[in-house]
Symmetry: C2
Subunit: 195 residues, 2 copies
């Protein structure tokens, strides 16, 4: 399971074999069935989770019972309620599995230990968070300035690799659009591509 994690880390920094051996015992592994919860709102998010196989989503539920998807995470992605993890206060997000999933998880204490044991991991997380900030900034702006069609096409481009694995109603929830809107846009683009 560590191959996926190490491949992701080595996409950003160099790791020695010795460093890899120091990293391994700081993680625990876990398997999730489809629809199984990794985290429920109101719990404390005790671990950062790295997906080695499968697909997860994080989402919150508003007062009217509507789900709003915050993030999808598949092979090579991290997922958590980051605020809850760092502050050890209650989570506002739920995280559950869309497919059968395998993950590696690290506790807050081991996360702090990780960057002390392997200082290069500070650089890995610096680059990871930097990319994440940029994505969030643009998503926030996109949500207020783009049309439904622009939003969907942007999503389809960015998530091309796993687009077929995410049910349409979940993409709608992520983009804040009605499922029918997504269907309409997809029909339009399928017929365009056929020309």
């Amino acid at each position: 399971m560590f191959e996926v994690l190490f491949a992701h880390i080595e996409g950003k920094i160099h790791l020695t074999d010795q460093e890899k051996e120091r990293i391994k015992p700081l993680f625990i592994s876990r398997k999730l069935r489809r629809r199984q919860y990794l985290l429920q709102a109101e719990e404390i998010c005790t671990h950062l989770t790295f997906v080695t196989k499968g697909l997860l989503r994080s989402y919150n539920v508003d007062d009217k019972g509507n789900e709003h998807i915050n993030q999808f995470a598949w092979e090579g992605w991290w997922i958590s309620d980051f605020y809850s993890f760092l502050t050890q206060e209650k989570a506002i997000f739920n995280i559950d599995a869309i497919e059968e999933t395998e993950v590696l998880m690290i506790s807050l204490q081991n996360y702090e230990e990780l960057t002390v044991q392997v200082p290069a991991m500070d650089r890995y997380f610096r680059i990871l968070y930097q990319n994440s900030l940029v994505t969030k900034d643009r998503r926030l702006m996109s949500s207020t300035t783009h049309t439904a069609e622009e939003k969907y096409l942007q999503f389809a481009k960015r998530y091309a690799q796993i687009l077929q694995r995410i049910p349409q109603h979940l993409i709608a929830s992520y983009l804040g659009l009605a499922p029918e809107t997504i269907s309409r846009i997809r029909r339009k683009w399928v017929s365009k591509e056929a020309i």
Copy 2:
């Protein structure tokens, strides 16, 4: 000017005098008059900016000409169009000075050089970005789930130190509320405190 920057960095990591001397030449300093632009949308954001004195804001302007404030930055804060800085694509944010301001600025090349020259800076930025991600997550949620009053009180608490320095209509723009709403909430709280 470097005292403010080094104090901020040393709040998160230890720096030796030698490391400080390596950091200094990677920055340039600049002064801004009130209302002067540091960055305009459609330009490339060439530098990350650290405020040593004064107050800046970043904002975008929608199709109807309305300003939406993204961030305030005063002594000890970083500000940029981070996406534009990292990708060197066009900025979507404007940044200008609310007060007379003094800043230290670092180019993308020097920013990369900085973490190579002083590896501990990876840790500094890792912690900085980690905090920033958490703030953004909660702001995004707050914007959809909180009432106007909750939003204002949260802002007033978080920005207590500089609340008096930010004009009321700019706070309204940051929170996505009408200026009259802010006035109403403030009147209510002032009269409560008087009881």
